[in-house]
């Protein structure tokens, strides 16, 4: 046998038995398969832009078009206020994290079903799939940040020093998407209805988040409850760190992220419980 470390992992004893305890997460197995995680993310990225003449350019074009339309319809015709910030900049700072989140949610939910052949035929820690699906659109997010940089240049503005907190808000969105996907993915394996409910849910969620309108338009007495939507924290966080608008309500963020972490933990247990039946149900 080869003397590399990887071989020795597989030479260990594998015990197979019905899993009893609910607290067996076996995250160690995910770590052992980290290279598969890398290749799955890489596959998703490659496949998406393959045979597209503009390739990864689409990650730039899409937000440009969306913000263009938002600016015309909501900024120009509907005259929605934007807290004194140029509307395109106002919309894009919110649209970028939102696009990431909705994409992660969409891919993560469909990921297991999309790779059903793998689930049926080959063993690997199933958690790898939702993790890969939530990581993939982060790459797009980074690419589309270029558009934002250009827009900043156009308006002759500079982001604030708070921009160092930006990764924190991306992480928040990622954790939120991952927690949701841990539930939606396995349910989708059993009931494909989820695939139909999801686009609609994403749309409603988008209007329930301050993307095209500012948080200040929400009646003051509802603002705290409104901010319990974790995406409000993410979006306001983006605007705060880049544009220097009012700081997000950290108390509301604390509460909502607390709930998200609970969702994450239960989601992990739920996923581990359900993954035993993936091959039988899918």
């Amino acid at each position: 046998m080869s003397a590399d470390g990887y071989g020795s992992i597989h030479r260990r004893i594998i015990e197979i038995r019905p899993s009893k305890g609910i607290f067996m997460l076996d995250l160690q197995a995910v770590w052992q398969y980290r290279e598969l995680l890398y290749f799955l993310v890489w596959r998703e990225l490659k496949v998406r832009y393959k045979q597209a003449a503009l390739g990864a350019g689409w990650a730039i074009i899409q937000p440009i078009f969306a913000v263009f339309i938002f600016t015309i319809v909501f900024g120009h015709f509907a005259k929605i206020p934007s807290d004194g910030i140029p509307y395109p900049l106002f919309a894009l700072t919110a649209f970028l994290p939102w696009t990431y989140f909705s994409e992660a949610l969409r891919r993560g939910t469909g990921g297991l079903v999309g790779d059903s052949e793998l689930l049926r035929k080959i063993y690997f820690p199933r958690l790898i799939i939702p993790i890969a699906m939530v990581i993939t659109p982060i790459v797009d997010l980074f690419v589309s940040l270029l558009v934002l940089a250009v827009l900043f240049g156009w308006y002759n503005l500079l982001p604030t020093w708070n921009a160092v907190y930006l990764p924190g808000f991306v992480l928040m969105a990622a954790i939120l998407a991952f927690s949701a996907v841990l539930w939606l993915g396995p349910i989708n394996v059993r009931f494909r209805d989820i695939q139909h409910i999801l686009p609609f849910t994403i749309q409603v969620w988008m209007y329930a988040s301050p993307i095209i309108y500012p948080l200040s338009m929400v009646p003051e007495k509802w603002q705290f409850y409104y901010s319990l939507n974790p995406m409000v924290g993410v979006i306001e966080g983006f605007r705060w760190s880049l544009l220097g608008t009012t700081a997000p309500n950290f108390e509301a963020i604390g509460i909502s992220m607390g709930c998200v972490l609970l969702l994450l933990l239960c989601g992990l247990l739920y996923f581990k419980r359900m993954e035993r039946f993936f091959a039988d149900l899918i």
Binding site: I122, F277, A279
Partner: protein
């Protein structure tokens, strides 16, 4: 515990819940309405609607390092379930198994290939899916490409590959996994015969390297060449575990009497059923492997529970991948049996069989008067056709033909305008 044991299986079982009256992907709505109904009606939701069946039950055995064991059984006997449990794709309901060593499972080759990616990209993707590290694939890359023989196309998307190239490349990756324990399912693998042959060659190489192999196949021929020991599964249970010759005998006995599922009821309740089935050579000796072009004699002993007017006996030969190859019936051959009742024997003498080398299964049907009501439908035993040249790449059958030849230039001069095209002559 014996330290020489590679796979130890103890009381392993897998239960499936059958959901009555709905498909597998039932909708969320169905699920919720059922729940609601059961709440209102206060009936047991699970007990009324679900039935269970054991795909595998109380399986126990031990396999030592370097042993090659065949898993045999009819369709639905639990062979694939066993392999799926051992390869950790699905979880057992009861019991446990312990596997010592680097395990490689080939339940289907090429799963995980992405059509849009190039051959090179897929080697890395599929390799990591199978559990190899990137460094390991780097090291073996040239050898994989060499083995597959696709050097010129390695940077072409695999969607442009022929199916043969696709399978070759996928298999080359899998073959470089160097497992200490190999779980091989020939049944689930792509129906390409040349691939199946590659599978066997690969397994033989591993055999020489003293690997432990668990081999599921319907092909008794390959089981015999590969394994000294077989485990025979029937209805999810281990019926026999021991020498290959004896195990195959049990299997073949059961094959004869197995029934095609599309005929309802138990064979014993049918108007007629086939009790015994023999495949013989023209001298009347029982035989399993025939050469290309040999005549086959099929003898079946029937039991008719009622008198049947002008029955039509139909014997069909199907290839292992499901292709119906030929069909003989007393009706079409003008052989009239006026009436049968009780026990009897009927024999079919085929003309020289020109089928290509493969594994074939015999189906027996009895119909009333011509092709009317189906009285009996059973699957008989299997036989092999052996030939060095003619395999499924040559078609379903091969028949020698006559040829004629004309030199293109001289014929163009002598036979007038070329527009008429070449002349074909039938002998």
């Amino acid at each position: 515990m014996n330290s020489n044991v590679a796979i130890s299986v103890d009381n392993l079982g897998k239960q499936y819940k059958l959901i009555k009256g709905s498909t597998q992907h039932d909708t969320l709505m169905d699920h919720l309405t059922e729940r609601f109904k059961s709440l209102v009606q206060r009936t047991g939701y699970h007990s009324t609607r679900q039935d269970v069946f054991w795909a595998l039950r109380n399986a126990s055995f031990e396999i030592e390092f370097g042993e090659n064991v065949g898993i045999i059984g009819l369709n639905g006997a639990g062979k694939s379930t066993l392999l799926k449990i051992l390869s950790r794709i699905t979880e057992p309901t009861t019991g446990r198994a312990r596997i010592t060593g680097r395990i490689g499972a080939l339940l289907e080759v090429g799963t995980g290939f992405h059509p849009e990616l190039t051959g090179r990209e897929n080697v890395y993707l599929y390799g990591t899916i199978l559990g190899m590290s990137k460094a390991e694939i780097n090291r073996k890359f040239d050898s994989i490409v060499d083995f597959a023989g696709v050097d010129n196309f390695i940077d072409t998307p695999v969607k442009r590959y022929s199916s043969g190239m696709y399978v070759r490349l996928a298999f080359a990756v899998a073959a470089h996994l160097e497992p200490e324990i190999l779980l091989l399912d020939e049944v689930l693998s792509v129906g390409d015969v040349s691939f199946q042959r590659k599978c066997i060659e690969f397994a033989k190489d591993l055999q020489k390297a003293n690997a432990t192999i668990l081999f599921v196949s319907h092909n008794m021929f390959s089981i015999k060449t590969m394994c000294k020991r077989v485990i025979y599964l029937k209805h999810g249970k281990v019926i026999f575990d021991g020498p290959t010759d004896i195990g195959i005998k049990y299997y073949e006995e059961d094959c004869r009497l197995s029934t095609i599922p599309w005929k309802d009821g138990k064979p014993e309740e049918w108007p007629i059923f086939i009790k015994e089935f023999d495949i013989l050579d023209h001298d009347g000796h029982s035989k399993m492997v025939f050469n290309y072009g040999e005549c086959i004699r099929l003898r079946l002993r029937y039991q008719a529970h009622q008198s049947i007017q002008t029955p039509n006996f139909i014997i069909a030969i199907a290839r292992s991948d499901g292709v119906m190859c030929c069909n003989y019936s007393t009706e079409t051959d003008g052989f009239v049996i006026e009436k049968i009742a009780g026990e009897g024997v009927i024999e079919l003498y085929t003309p020289p069989l020109k089928l290509v080398s493969e594994l074939y299964t015999i189906h027996v049907l009895v119909r009333e008067k011509g092709f009317q009501k189906l009285l009996c439908a059973q699957v008989g035993s299997t036989f092999h056709v052996r030939d060095d040249l003619f395999n499924t790449h040559f078609g379903v059958f091969h028949e020698p033909a006559s040829w004629s030849w004309n030199d293109e230039y001289s014929s163009a001069v002598s036979s007038g305008p070329l527009k008429q095209g070449p002349k074909y002559q039938l002998a």
